[in-house]
């Protein structure tokens, strides 16, 4: 029998022998691979950016939906940047990077949504300024 089973690298053709990757750093490829990746990323980014700017100045869709559409386009474009420029993938070699990104996203979400929520609540429950002045007299 061969010892093929115990060799962790022989068949993959997918991973190089480095096992683990830093963000922005994929298996060694020809320059053409990187240029193609950059072209795809740029193409997606241009489409999404142009869509954002056109949408903001138009009445093509229902006006109250525009902010939501803009935020969706922005998140999509961040995803494009992460995948094509920062080379975050779902492969097992990227677990550490993905976990760090997930935690960072959680913190960002808590800070932004939490601040907006708490401050909106505070300002709703705040006494009108005039009334406050009266009480202080």
């Amino acid at each position: 029998m061969s010892n093929l089973e115990s060799d962790p690298h022989l068949y993959t053709g997918v991973l190089d022998d480095r096992e683990d990757h830093a963000p922005g750093d994929a298996p060694e490829e020809s320059a053409g691979h990187w240029v193609r990746n950059a072209n795809i990323g740029l193409g997606f980014s241009i489409v999404l950016t142009v869509a954002s700017f056109l949408l903001a100045g138009s009445n093509a869709i229902y006006a109250p939906a525009i902010p939501v559409a803009l935020i969706v386009l922005a998140i999509a474009q961040m995803g494009v940047h992460l995948v094509f420029f920062l080379h975050i993938t779902t492969g097992p070699d990227n677990t550490n990077n993905i976990l760090a990104l997930a935690f960072g996203t959680l913190v960002v979400f808590l800070i932004v949504v939490g601040s907006i929520w708490i401050m909106a609540n505070l300002s709703d429950n705040m006494m009108p300024t005039g009334q406050l002045m009266q009480m202080q007299r």
């Binding site: 029998m1 061969s2 010892n3 093929l4 115990s6 962790p8 068949y11 993959t12 053709g13 997918v14 991973l15 022998d17 480095r18 096992e19 683990d20 990757h21 830093a22 963000p23 922005g24 750093d25 060694e28 490829e29 020809s30 320059a31 990187w34 240029v35 990746n37 950059a38 990323g41 740029l42 980014s45 950016t49 954002s52 700017f53 903001a56 525009i66 902010p67 803009l70 935020i71 386009l73 922005a74 961040m78 940047h81 992460l82 420029f85 920062l86 492969g91 097992p92 550490n96 990077n97 760090a100 990104l101 960072g104 913190v107 960002v108 800070i111 932004v112 601040s115 907006i116 401050m119």
Partner: protein, 231 residues
């Protein structure tokens, strides 16, 4: 090895097809740990991985810092204190040019990294120079915007909204400026020292930094400028 009745090569091809990423077949299990990957008892991971991962952690902390400024802007958006509102200070055509410059600089930055991988010093330098030039265009346009606003009497101390506006946009501009200085030192290092491992590590980190700045700018032009122009 378990005997399944198939020749070893057929069995191997079947395994690769079914599990191309080898999930569940990593070196944590009974197999030999792989040296340099930071797994098992093989010692720390290689320098390149640690450098890139550490810089990734820094970038995420930087994005958390930006998120505080975003939160401040979101909260103070209506706090104009009788001063101008956000829709009166945004200038969409200029923002479109700034966005184009930064997006293209991200692209050329990536091309410079492709050239680094191909170990072409000339093209690395050329694309880094274009990246720096586009970054400079961005910073100058932003400075021009701030100067024009200041000439109209619109300064950070006028209202809470303007404080958070100048804070957020200015912080990003500061990052791009510092990134430009870093880029200049990288040009010199590549020229003098060539593609030594530590120089390539720094180029990887610089790429990550520049792309992260572009991601933050996506948030700024959407939330501050485009949403600001709606009201």
């Amino acid at each position: 090895m378990t005997y399944t009745g198939l020749p070893a090569s057929v069995e191997a091809i079947r395994r690769v097809r079914e599990d191309p990423h080898r999930l569940g077949h990593r070196a944590h299990g009974p197999e030999e740990p792989v040296a340099g990957a930071g797994h098992g008892e093989t010692g720390p991971a290689r320098k390149r991985i640690i450098v890139g991962y550490g810089f990734w952690i820094y970038l995420l902390s930087d994005i958390v810092l930006f998120s505080c400024f975003f939160a401040a802007f979101a909260v103070l958006r209506g706090a104009t204190a009788g001063g101008p509102t956000i829709s009166q200070i945004v200038d969409i055509p200029r923002v479109a040019i700034e966005t184009t410059a930064l997006l293209l600089s991200s692209y050329t930055c990536m091309l410079s990294f492709a050239a680094t991988n191909a170990r072409s010093r000339l093209w690395t330098q050329i694309f880094l120079l274009i990246t720096g030039f586009l970054g400079l265009v961005f910073v100058l346009l932003e400075l021009q915007e701030f100067i024009e606003l200041a000439a109209r009497g619109i300064t950070p101390q006028v209202s809470g909204m303007l404080t958070s506006f100048f804070g957020l946009v200015g912080l990003h501009g500061l990052h791009v400026t510092l990134g430009g200085l870093w880029l200049a030192t990288m040009l010199a290092q590549v020229q003098v020292k060539g593609f030594r491992p530590e120089i390539v590590h720094r180029l990887i980190c610089f790429n990550l930094f520049w792309h992260a700045l572009d991601i933050v700018w996506i948030g700024i032009f959407t939330i501050v400028y485009l949403l600001g122009s709606l009201t």
